[in-house]
Symmetry: C2
Subunit: 105 residues, 2 copies
DNA sequence: TATTTGTGCAACCAAATGGTTGTTGTTATA
DNA sequence: TATAACAACAACCATTTGGTTGCACAAATA
């Protein structure tokens, strides 16, 4: 089991998805992010670290505050993969069509 | 930590993503799926179980074989979530525009 | 019939995951 | 200046995860 720290793993956790949705409405500091969730600030900070490491959010220091901002361009990797898989999946029907056509002859 | 068994968690693992891609080209049995990966048949079977449980693949018995087929419609949940997040993220600029407009007055 | 093939089940394991609490440190604020 | 707010670091913990091996069993095949 190699350490996986990619976008797919980042959005696998429901809490992290909530964080992403919250941040997609505007930048917040760590304390603000965790306000409505029932987990400790430290737990949130860990999630933030993961999201930051794979580029989904960016951090900036503002006095004593650590402001987090969503960078949702990085979710492209996910939609790209899904699109690619779907493409192959659709071609599979073409293959079947070809096969049926070849039988008909 | 509640047990999460959803599509997001299903595609978080790279091996499972490879299985999905392989199956998107056509149905295969468990032994065939694991052929090129460097993991045991049992490991593959566990991944298959997870993928089946969240509907990404479907199973059918064919003699002694267990045939797996991709059902990529179920990846909609993923693209939907990404689309929804991106939508909010884009509206954030509108908010800023409104704010700047209100200052101008 | 004997053997190979495809699979299921169970036990086990190391590492990762998601979480906690406690301590320390720095920056605002009363 | 004393105190409150924001956050980093470390240690610890239970559970999950991804993987293994060994054994059993039914269905094809030589």
């Amino acid at each position: 089991m190699i350490e996986r720290r990619d976008v797919f793993q980042a959005i696998a956790d429901p809490t992290r998805r909530m964080i992403i949705q919250k941040l997609s409405q505007g930048p917040l500091n760590i304390a603000q992010i965790g306000e409505d969730f029932g987990v400790s600030r430290q737990a949130i900070a860990k999630h933030i670290k993961i999201l930051n490491e794979c580029g989904i959010i960016s951090m900036s220091q503002k006095g004593r505050e650590q402001v987090c901002e969503a960078r949702l361009e990085h979710l492209d990797a996910v939609t790209d993969w899904v699109t690619e898989s779907r493409k192959l999946w659709n071609q599979r029907f073409d293959k079947l069509d070809n096969f049926l056509a070849s039988i008909k002859k």
